[in-house]
Symmetry: C3
Subunit: 307 residues, 3 copies
């Protein structure tokens, strides 16, 4: 169903395709945990091009490719690339497309993923294109929800933190609506979810509330998806200092939250979740990062037709 | 025939050895395209040391090694190397020679390849030593000509652009002479092919013409090998601006060129070939980059005695 | 015996464990030299995290992992890591621990190895934590002594150079004492072995002499372990210039040394061993670097329970 396709954004998937990705990921997870040697991509070369540093995502993709038996060629350092010699992205991709069987790319420029996909004959996977899309993050988020909660729908999900600039929460919001979840958007006024996204989600039938009160939201949520509030987003530093404390999740807040609440975070976490939350059993953010390997295995195997 | 040998420059090869490399490359190309899993270098470690960045060439060698079933260890970033701690190149190579079964190196210093080869017990492949040699580029160039044209000899080949400093065109000129091709050197006066090289090639029996007129040369050439003219090469920037337009290959020029002309370029291309040439069927420069993988597979397999 | 254990420092090992590591390394050396394809770690992923550059050690670990059939994911460039985004080391390790089956780390901060080991469920190997420990260096040193001399004990070992700051000589001193070797510490006064280490070694029954005279020491030593004297260690540059010549090992000194003396050095060597020593048959420093691969293979296989 996904053979030969490019993975560009979250909106491209049908529910059938999402289910296929989830089930394929679950199958690979089982095989890895049983210690099976997986050879689906033996003899294949995966190019992992990170023109913007992101160790976490790069290592996750490289692990996924290696666990499938593929070989990996990597650009981890933008400065060392031919791009520095004035080559166009299209030319770089056409060259790498002659080396590899599938291309994974992160690039700081919005829209770069589409350019790359257009210039590659082989399947292309977007690992983040600036303020554009980062579909594998949203996919690993829902894979984690399915694993932690047993189902993808019927939950109340609080989105916490920077909802204005957070690429991650926009994609996830769309998927949560698709699977009939109720959403509560929790943020300072200056970082509210953009009006057009909220409207679009409501248009798709989603039930949405907005609040500035984290504690209140946690009391009724099954899942809290926390993101970082960055100082740079505020014109007035004093405003940042005043607000940030209100969106820090700590153990005391967990203890007043709905029983069994699951805590997610795309990582890296700086101080928006206190480390005293880490040993709470519903703190799923490191399991979430771990799940990314299986979801990326699934995508690599599906687009190359080797799942 | 090449087992245990170092690959340092193009002039070292007999015609028999060149033919062996071409045939071995063709054999690997066939196997890769059939989807065979190749294990010639299974259990072998290939060190890929790039003390000067060149993503294209590095990824090509790494792809070649991986497609042969070898494992790769890489230095992609000169700053991170022991060289930074004041170690001599000889010592660095002697150490890596204790890790790997074959060493590939790019280094900014002319002559560094010979030093490295002298200090390695294992076979050594020069991936470019400054203004010295870059033999694998010339080998992939002739492999491409053989594939595109069906034969290596009997063509008229235009060399276009910077013929004075272009390391690539010097090596290729030598091989084109060896295979009885006629050559036309097309460049601004300031960037003409060095006198001694032209004389040497003529001494080997090559028929050579020199001109500043690109259009005229294209009208009678079977192949055009285009290289970049770099601003830094001109003392007078105005001279650069005046000249550069005359050596830009575009679709209009192609339409007036000899029918079936093949366009080659070592890449990266900046603006010396317009993108409107890219979908001309004789535009072979991306196929040429792709061919580099098979030529490098051939070299790795031959020098390790595993072809 | 070492399955599931972390490798943090040299002092953690019993003599039985040291013997196991030596014997396992010897077994892998034999297999590699016979050209066997080794699959002990097939299907396993080894994370090699170098938050401080050290090409030699990084490539040695990567070679070891690859020769065991494992796959490698690498951070070679601290700047490109999530650490740059303010993430704690604990969080970085918890994430990587979700990707890999064993973690190797070099980090500039003393004590970082313990933090990493505490946050990883999988086995952790310290590849150097600042002024802390670098256990695999000491292990490859003794593996080299065993190979070069036929036994680990009963020798007179001269330690030469910077004994004050040299992390390597501290660990090796401890192991040499354990195996009943006599030690001669040869250094300028300013760089003497720290009093507490000398006292501790004597307390363990070691026979130790201290001298500033290299020639005298070489005359009675079976092994000389040479380290670099760094200019930065001296407050007075004139003092450095005056002294450094006295601790340079050259061929003339070798010719007056005890017959059969073995010369070791952790590398990189700058000028503290003249290159005219390199073809002396007892000059074992490049063999020593080479041995590091087998010792690291042994550790990777033992901690993952796959030796």
């Amino acid at each position: 169903m996904l053979k030969g396709k490019d993975i560009l954004n979250t909106a491209q998937f049908s529910v059938q395709e999402l289910n296929l990705i989830m089930n394929t990921a679950a199958c690979f997870e089982k095989q890895v945990k049983e210690g099976s040697i997986i050879r689906n991509l033996e003899g294949q070369v995966v190019a992992v091009l990170f023109f913007e540093p992101s160790t976490r995502t790069r290592l996750s993709f490289e692990t996924a490719a290696n666990r499938l038996g593929a070989r990996v060629i990597t650009v981890a350092e933008p400065a060392s690339s031919s791009v520095a010699k004035g080559e166009s992205l299209a030319d770089t991709i056409r060259t790498v497309d002659g080396y590899a069987d599938v291309i994974v790319m992160r690039h700081p420029m919005k829209g770069s993923a589409q350019i790359a996909a257009d210039n590659a004959i082989h399947p292309f996977i977007n690992a983040g294109d600036g303020s554009g899309h980062h579909p594998t993050q949203a996919l690993l988020d829902i894979y984690t929800i399915r694993k932690e909660k047993g189902a993808l729908g019927g939950h109340t999900v609080a989105f916490v933190g920077d909802l204005k600039y957070g690429r991650t929460v926009h994609s996830l919001g769309y998927l949560m609506a698709l699977y009939k979840n109720k959403m509560i958007f929790v943020s300072p006024k200056a970082l509210r979810m953009p009006e057009e996204i909220t409207a679009d989600l409501r248009g798709r039938g989603a039930e949405i509330e907005e609040t500035e009160d984290l504690k209140e939201a946690l009391a009724v949520s099954d899942i809290a998806y926390v993101t970082r509030i960055q100082r740079e987003r505020f014109e007035d530093p004093a405003e940042y200092e005043r607000l940030k404390g209100s969106y820090i999740l700590n153990r005391a807040l967990i203890d007043q939250a709905k029983k069994g609440i699951t805590i997610l975070h795309p990582l890296p976490r700086v101080d928006e979740i206190s480390t005293d939350v880490d040993d709470y059993e519903g703190a799923a953010y490191f399991r979430q990062a771990h799940n990314g390997v299986y979801v990326r295995m699934a995508l690599l195997a599906l687009v190359t037709g080797r799942a």
